[in-house]
Amino acid sequence: MSPILFWLFSFLMLGFGVLVVLHRNPVASALSLVVSFLGLAVLFVSLDAYFIGIIQVLVYAGAVMVLFLFIIMLLDLKAEERRSWNPVALAGGIFVTLGFAALLIKVLHRFPDADKPFPPISGNLSQMDDVHHVGLTLFTSYNLPFQVIGVLVLVATIGIVVLSKKELK
């Protein structure tokens, strides 16, 4: 993928991520997050991971963020009023953030192998494309985790129902 597109969509993703953090209105934050996810999905596609990219849009941007928005509407959250910043907390947060970034850059410097370009895919993707490969791996090697994930989602559903029940007075 050409570097211009890559950097464009990266900045899109990162920028809207920053907006998520900065906006005071929670609905605006949620919508920035949706755009961020779309940028991320593009990056996935640029890595030849088509299935994951589509799943990202469908599940994350489509289902999870919708859920977020529903809850925000349910709780009827208004934009936050300005509260005074706690200097200690602010300093702590900025310190950790910058620390992580610095550490990240330092680590990446020690990984010279990753400066090579991506190796080209030489496998046969015309007969069985990406989705089929993923599905094959999923249902053969990872069948058990797949079933477990199904149970997990079921349990989560039951949990949510229990948690959300209003006390009948």
Binding site: I52, Y60, F118, V134
Partner: protein, 107 residues
């Protein structure tokens, strides 16, 4: 100048950092939760990048990474659902979503 793995990792790391900073700096619990999702997605990006970088024997990407991303997305969705249900229950109890107001479990 090609896009290298380092670039993807850098972007992923920055996204993670932004998400973590959001967790630390925002005081509305819903926003904190959304930043948590940002962090998870950063990890997903890393995984997919590595999956593409490490080609398996027959020249295809190492799909194990993508399988893991699939699971992470699923679990994150379930986690968001349960977490929001808890937040709703908390809102009903405390009438607030400010994280600083939820501080009775302390010395």
């Amino acid at each position: 100048m090609e896009v290298t793995l380092n670039d993807y990792l850098l972007v992923s790391g920055l996204l993670f950092t932004i998400g973590f900073g959001g967790v630390l700096l925002r005081r509305n619990i819903i926003i904190i939760f959304m930043c948590l999702e940002l962090m998870l997605n950063a990890a997903n990006l890393s995984l997919v990048a590595f999956s593409r970088f490490n080609l398996s024997a027959d020249g295809l990407p190492n799909y194990n990474g993508q399988i893991l991303v699939f699971f992470i997305i699923t679990v994150a969705a379930a986690e968001v659902a349960v977490g929001l249900a808890i937040i709703v229950a908390l809102y009903r109890a405390r009438q607030t979503t400010h994280v600083e107001d939820i501080n009775t479990l302390k010395f």
